[in-house]
């Protein structure tokens, strides 16, 4: 493949060209209720060629990899319609590397289908018989073996194997017209070993769904809110992380004013970073999809904005260093600026410290879903507990937090010392590319004055 790619990159007539070719093998299976719902296997071979001419991109995606030179020529022809200025890409040393898959104790490609099915069915059975109120379940498994080949006109070439394994569990409990869910899941760049031993989590998911049936809705209002690690990580990713993606900022003067480096966004104790090189996390790769080595990028240090996430183009145009954040989910997409593993750094408090002086507050756990529109966010927790007079009190459901990210960051006033990566399934969506494997990390975080929705 390397030779064909190198040959296609000769005499292209553009300022810059790259080709990425991927082979992907995926096996998925799911149970819904007592029955196997679906089982499927997909294989893909495809690629994308990008050409940059006078600052404009031409992009061609294809399954037919037999004539790469023609694909490059087409990309250059597209780019010629676009370019009107100067091409600016941050300088990167050409690389040449072959990166094998991270260690897999049990390569999932060699695990018999029967075992995958038995394991997932086991979790499903546990959920269904955990409580008489459990009405149905969804337990899904997916493994992906993705081999990436990248070459560009500057002489870089790398191959990287990126396995990704996820298990998702959902329990649905019902009483009358009321339906409640419990959810959990894992995601790792690892072998089948991470998919086993989840029995206790399956039972917990079912128990929680059943318990939520009896839980009251949280009363709408403004509360002191403590986020658990999974929810804190989502906040770092969804509410703030996306604003750090420079494709939002580099051509937009107003956004540049808001996201100006040196601006204070939160207290001295607030630190947020994105790190694509953490071993064992789903967002980790050796290189991004432009051949830039991944690294730890500090975004907020002691409450002050100090960095952002870049592709080579955004870094070049903003005069900042490349960060290794140009990522694509699959062969049919060009890379765009994305997060990898995004985290709020731990503080020194204990969880007790966070709730001790809270008269009336809310402890929000795990996330059910999140959505943002620039500065506004709406996040649902999977469940919550009221905090009353400094103690955890009753379980509550329908926990939806909403607000302005800048105000909310300012209102973060305590960080615990219990940092965890979520290693969750799912992934990030942006620009029609979803789900991208990412990870989320945080300690318990306390925030003042959060608006909690709910019917009045």
């Amino acid at each position: 493949m390397q030779d064909q790619m190198a040959e296609a990159l000769k005499a292209h007539g553009a300022d810059y060209v790259d080709i990425r070719i991927e082979r992907a093998e995926r096996t998925s299976l799911s149970f819904r209720g007592p029955e196997m719902d679906s089982i499927s296997s997909s294989r893909a071979l495809g690629g994308v060629a990008r050409a940059l001419v006078r600052g404009g991109w031409g992009i061609v995606t294809f399954n037919d990899v037999s004539d790469l030179r023609a694909q490059v020529a087409e990309a250059v022809a597209c780019a010629r319609l676009v370019g009107k200025e100067k091409s600016q890409l941050a300088e990167v040393e050409p690389v040449e590397a072959v990166i094998p898959a991270p260690h897999m104790e049990r390569d999932f490609r060699a695990v018999p289908l029967a075992e995958k099915q038995r394991t997932i069915q086991g979790y499903n059975d546990l959920i269904l018989k955990a409580d008489p109120k459990i009405q149905t379940s969804i337990v899904s498994y997916s493994d992906l073996y993705r081999q990436v080949h990248f070459a560009n006109s500057e002489g870089s070439y790398f191959e990287e194997t990126r396995p990704d394994l996820t298990v998702g569990m959902s329990a649905v409990a019902k009483e009358g017209d009321l339906v409640q869910r419990g959810i959990d899941g894992i995601g790792y760049p690892a072998g089948f070993e991470v998919a086993v031993g989840m029995e206790a989590r399956a039972e917990a998911v079912a128990r929680r769904a059943a318990e939520l049936l009896a839980a009251p809705k949280v009363e709408g209002g403004t509360y002191t809110v403590v986020l658990n690690q999974k929810f804190g990580g989502v906040f770092a990713h969804e509410a703030f992380g996306h604003l750090s993606e420079s494709d939002f900022v580099y051509e937009n003067e107003k956004m540049r004013e808001i996201m100006v480096l040196g601006r204070r966004f939160g207290p001295e104790t607030l630190n947020i970073y994105d790190d694509g090189s953490v071993p064992g996390c789903r967002g980790t790769n050796a290189f991004d999809d432009e051949g830039v080595r991944t690294q730890r990028n500090v975004l907020i240090e002691k409450g002050v904005l100090v960095g952002r996430l870049h592709s080579r183009e955004t870094a070049g145009k903003m005069g900042e260093g490349p960060t290794g954040n140009a990522r694509a989910i699959a062969w049919e997409h060009p890379p765009i600026v994305r997060m990898t593993n995004t985290a709020i750094a731990p503080g020194s408090a204990t969880f007790e410290d966070l709730i001790r002086d809270v008269e009336l507050g809310l402890y929000a756990l795990d996330y059910y879903g999140g959505q943002t529109m620039m500065e506004m966010f709406t996040f649902s927790a999977a469940y919550g507990y009221m905090i009353r007079k400094g103690k955890l009190a009753e379980l509550v459901r329908d926990v939806v937090l909403t607000g302005n990210v800048f105000e909310t960051l300012e209102h973060m006033d305590m960080f615990a010392n219990d940092f965890q990566w979520a290693h969750a399934g799912g992934g990030c969506g942006k620009g029609g590319q979803s789900p991208l494997p990412t990870d989320l990390g945080s300690p318990h975080v306390r925030i003042q004055n959060v608006v909690v929705g709910g019917q009045q």
Partner: protein, 426 residues
């Protein structure tokens, strides 16, 4: 290749279906006022479903020639597959549906570039501070579906789409306004996108205060998603069979206001989700799902229909809706506004799809909405949440607008609900 693959599968399975498709597409996109990319794509896809010993296996690939290995994988998976109490359907006549317009693929890249440019120029002319993003593109595809019951359907379809949206930043306040059109025919008017985007920006020039209380809410054709999404999940035959849908067992019951009628119709000429047959070879048809407020039917594919003792409604595989048509009412939109003493118009929301959606519960942030006072739109509402239940809201419809609009594959009018809980941040 497909016929050869099918012969190979016939010897190894109790039934097989092979679907092969090839697609070409092109697009031009503007980001932050600038033309950034011109795209072209070529793709091929092969999907095989087999039934072996009464169980279903599914495999797919991107190689249009080597189909046998895909069949082998499907057969291997079928040993662990779900029960498949159905057989692949034989040939059946389908309605003629227009899905292909030759003008689509004749569109030059330069024209895609020019149409996006119109959106950027017009919106910038209204307010140069707005950053404009626009894309215009098309795709054409050909497919062939064959199965071991003798079905052999070829299809050809085209799509032409465009969108334009702006973001306007004032301090830390950001206002997004966007419109999207998608049709199988080349019938895209970038000027209309501009008029609507600019119209919303004009209405949002001022902010309006809202007090937390119950008040009438008008959902625009796009905002109506808040009410329609739970219904579309609830009428999915698989959700009904699995007992997830609150509509299970409610066929024949009055669900909504008698003015509310919802049809699933995969046979509207040139509509985004129209085709003569679904992806299992069942003819698409018009399914009157809710008529005058009464629930008539659910949507089914082959597998779920067999398990539920029903017939496929041409919504396979997956039992999802095709084009969704909500009947127009008799009140002009302007009159819905005029008749409102104090209320809110909802154009877009954030947070839909979170929480207990299939039950109909919603608790969403209004990302673009307007305040009505004494029958006039007085400005944009900010930091306001809307909470309620879609089924309750559909029972308390005050009026339905007379002007339905397509948005994606849904065609709906504005819907005014008598009262909903509006929660303002202090």
């Amino acid at each position: 290749m497909i016929a050869r693959g099918l012969e190979y599968a016939r010897k190894r399975t109790g039934g097989a279906e092979i679907r092969a498709s090839a697609e070409r597409a092109s697009a031009a996109s503007y980001e932050d006022d600038k033309l950034k990319k011109v795209w072209a794509s070529q793709s091929t896809h092969v999907a095989v479903r087999v039934i072996v010993n009464g169980k279903l296996g599914h495999a797919s690939g991107t190689d249009p020639v080597e189909i046998e290995p895909v069949v082998d994988r499907a057969v291997e998976l079928a040993a662990f597959g779900s029960e498949a109490p159905f057989t692949f359907p034989g040939p059946a006549p389908a309605r003629e549906v227009k899905t292909y317009d030759p003008a689509v693929e004749q569109t030059a890249r330069e024209e895609l570039v020019a149409q996006g440019g119109v959106v950027v120029d017009r919106v910038k002319a209204y307010n140069p501070e707005i950053k404009v993003h626009a894309e215009t593109g098309w795709s054409v595809g050909e497919g062939r579906l064959m199965n071991t019951s003798g079905l052999d359907v070829t299809s050809r379809g085209s799509s032409y789409y465009g969108y334009g949206y702006g973001d306007l930043v004032r301090g830390t306040d950001m206002l997004f306004v966007g419109r999207y059109r998608h049709w199988r025919k080349k019938d895209y008017d970038p000027e209309r996108i501009c008029r609507e985007v600019i119209g919303d920006y004009r209405l949002a020039e001022r902010n309006a205060a809202v007090e937390s209380k119950q008040m009438p809410v008008i959902f625009t054709p796009r905002g109506a998603r808040v009410l329609l999404m739970p219904v579309l999940m609830g009428i999915n035959g698989k959700s009904v069979l699995k007992g997830d849908s609150p509509l299970a067992g409610k066929l024949g019951e009055r669900l909504c206001d008698p003015r509310f009628t919802l049809v699933d119709d995969g046979t509207v000429d040139y509509a985004p989700d129209s085709r003569p047959y679904d992806h299992e070879g069942t003819p698409r048809r018009r399914n009157a799902v809710i008529t005058k407020g009464v629930l008539n039917c659910f949507l089914y594919d082959l597998d779920t229909a067999a398990k539920a003792g029903a017939q496929s409604t041409g919504n396979g595989p997956g039992c999802g809706a095709s084009n969704v048509l909500v009947s127009a009412g008799d009140t002009p939109f302007a009159e819905l506004v005029r008749s409102t003493k104090e209320g809110v118009i909802v154009e877009s929301v954030m947070g839909l799809g979170q929480g207990n959606i299939i039950n109909g519960d919603f608790s969403v942030n209004i990302s673009l909405g307007f305040k009505i006072e004494s029958g006039e739109i007085v400005g944009r509402v900010k930091n306001v949440m809307l909470a309620g239940n879609a089924y309750d809201a559909l029972k308390r419809i005050e009026a339905i607008a007379s002007e339905p609009e397509w948005y994606g594959s849904t065609c709906a009018p504005a819907i005014k609900v008598a009262e909903l809980s509006v929660v303002a941040k202090e």
